[in-house]
Amino acid sequence: MAQPSGSNRGKEAHMEQLITFVVLIAIGYFAGTAAESRHYRSIRERERQFLNLPAVTARNFLDDREEVAGTMLVYGNVVVSLDYFKRILAGLRNIFGGEVKSYLTLIDRARREAVLRAKKMAGNADIILNLRIETSSIGQNANRKNAVGSIEVLAYGTAVTLKK
């Protein structure tokens, strides 16, 4: 090829792509990390608030002498997505294998948040019975290879209020 003035435009586009990539990673890392620690702080705080409202996976968990004042189906859902940095990290992990830690914290946050929302809905109930937690992937990236889409976590159970 004799000369590039034109083809350089292509190369510069690559350069730009590279810079965009690095910038996105940096934004993803800093913003993502900050958001995550903020979220965890809030989750811990609310978990302490709801410490007296237990959720259990069992169905018949009440003593015979306890009298029920009311029951209600409660649920909480949350949709979360990975930041750019973690997405790339997960992509790299997909090549080498091993535990995808970056992904784990995301799901962990989502689950705890969903349970907290269900508990919030339960209000001043005394216990949530038969708690179930479902996870599903949604969004356009959900089924693309190596692409991590958004995840929805749904937590639901039966809130029971006892007569005092």
Partner: protein, 270 residues
């Protein structure tokens, strides 16, 4: 049932290991592996290229030729073909006839394709000012054929593509990133090829015209046209035009080639 509210002290699921460290370790590992595979495949391409028979190359070239050989040759193409034949001999060194095609394209560029096809973009034709300048461009492409760069370029490009698709799947952002990194390595390689083709083109000019005037004209035009810094050129497939001009001038001096009157450009190209 008695409930004892208790708080979890530490989170066993969540590790405190720095994700940044994990990222760089993985990235480094991946780059290392890819580089090794790439270099190995590069050698394989080199081996194949030096052994590929002209017949098979002709066959490969057929894919391109069909696209460009359609329709009547324009006046410009016929005139260019004459120039090319003068430079290369009616039949090239390897007994092959080189063919030139003019393509509508806004880039000031030309390309060498397998099977002896040279593409000249019409934007380039409108830039050149003398026949010698045009001959240099053609001779530069002939230089690529002599060095078999056209095959090498395709081979290595193919290797890159296959590699990244195999590892990342199509069209993922990481794949784009690694393609770019490897292309930057590739660029260093192709810059050497360009300089070699330039010198070969100077030899061909001397043989046709008996002097080498106009050899650097095209590159001068380009360096005036693009006012980009050296940094951008580090990433370009072609060396900085000034570097190429210097290399050509040094070569002309060392070979004691002379400068004379340039041949005027055929009015056809105006």
């Amino acid at each position: 049932m008695k409930y004892t509210p208790k708080e979890l002290q530490d989170d066993v699921t969540i590790s405190n290991a720095s994700p940044l460290k994990e990222f760089f370790v993985l990235l480094g590992g991946l780059l290392g592996i890819l580089l090794v595979v790439y270099v190995a495949l590069g050698f394989a391409v080199e081996l194949v290229v030096s052994r590929l028979s002209p017949e098979y190359e002709e066959f490969l070239g057929g894919f391109f030729a069909n696209r460009y050989d359609q329709g009547e040759k324009s006046e410009q193409e016929r005139r260019l073909q004459q120039l090319l034949d003068d430079l290369a001999g009616k039949k090239g060194k390897d007994g092959r006839r080189y063919r030139v095609h003019v393509v509508q394209h806004p880039n000031v560029n030309a390309a060498a394709l397998p099977g002896g096809h040279i593409l000249i973009f019409d934007a380039l034709i409108s830039e050149v000012e003398s026949e010698n300048e045009l001959s240099f461009v053609l001779a530069h492409e002939l230089g690529h054929f002599a060095n078999r760069d056209h095959l090498r370029g395709f081979g290595r490009g193919l290797v890159l593509l296959v590699l990244s698709t195999a590892v990342f799947g199509q069209d993922s952002s990481i794949s784009g990133f690694f393609l770019n990194s490897l292309q930057n390595v590739e660029v260093q390689f192709s810059q050497r090829q360009e300089k070699k083709a330039d010198l070969r083109a100077v030899d061909l000019l001397q043989r046709k015209y008996g002097h080498v005037s106009g050899a650097t004209d095209f590159l001068e035009d380009i360096s005036k046209m693009d006012k980009k810094g050296r940094v951008a050129y580090f990433f370009a497939t072609h060396p900085y035009p000034r570097d190429r001009i210097t290399a050509i001038e040094e070569y002309i001096v060392s070979q004691q080639y002379v400068q004379k009157e340039k041949t005027a450009l055929d009015p056809l190209f105006r």
